[in-house]
Symmetry: C2
Subunit: 126 residues, 2 copies
DNA sequence: AAGTATATACGAATAACTTCGTAGTTGCAA
DNA sequence: TTGCAACTACGAAGTTATTCGTATATACTT
């Protein structure tokens, strides 16, 4: 069970590892630099810290270490979400959902998915 | 237009101002202490900073200053939400909604509200 | 009027996170 | 085999946010 909340920088790195799989520091740093400027050793340092915290594991058998996410995207999102709901929406997930739907340009398919989920939830309520 | 992101502490204070309306530092500090221990001058300092940032306005005509939120709850939530969706859900509001619904114990009424909203959105799509 | 309680202001310590310089190692290419 | 490129490790500076001690002013109570 992993409940350690990643910091903003750590989360950005996790996103990359989730999307592209196990990667070197160089690769992650390049991806980060697609969106913002950040030095190589900065990325290295943060990934080392993440390794200490067990947010990632690393393979050090080669000179170039390969890092893998050690926490699942779903669990991490779930943790972040629940603390976000508490801090920003006073605990009301429904309020958050309403706001998110209100401004999102969800596709028809996505709306259908959501409706299906709601139907499923309603079923368990009876 | 106010897009300055409040910090965690500032947000807690805003929540209190939103819920109870214009308040003194003493009042806010007491409310904060319902959930966590925090010194009076700490709360004072943060509220002064918030005043500098224009997150709150204050009435200083009396010895006991009265602080009011200067940003709306909805707008603030909207800002926080959109940056949260980007940082934690790679921009997918739908994914967030699905996760939020998945673990929330929404009441039947709330689910109905959400369904109504979806219906309304679908209508604008045709 | 004196003493106590309650305010604000402000500077500085602490803490958490980010950033980067520098040193040292290893591999590769001329 | 020398020199350059790319890697890790590490310490320390920089940044932002939080916390609180202390000074000072104002009101209330007896």
């Amino acid at each position: 069970m992993q409940s350690n909340k990643p910091t903003e920088s750590e989360l950005q790195i996790l996103q990359i590892l989730w999307e592209f799989g196990p990667s070197s520091v160089r690769y992650v740093n390049d991806k980060l630099n697609d969106t913002r400027e950040v030095g190589y050793t900065t990325t290295l340092k943060i990934m080392q810290i993440m390794s200490d915290k067990d947010l990632v594991s690393r393979d050090t058998t080669q000179r170039t270490h390969i890092y893998s996410s050690h926490v699942s995207e779903d669990h991490t999102q779930q943790n972040l979400l629940s603390s976000f709901i508490n801090s920003a929406f006073r605990g009301s997930a429904t309020k958050l959902v309403m706001q998110a739907l209100g401004t999102d340009k969800a596709t028809t398919e996505e709306l259908q998915e959501i409706k299906d989920l709601i139907a499923k939830i309603e079923k368990t309520k009876s």
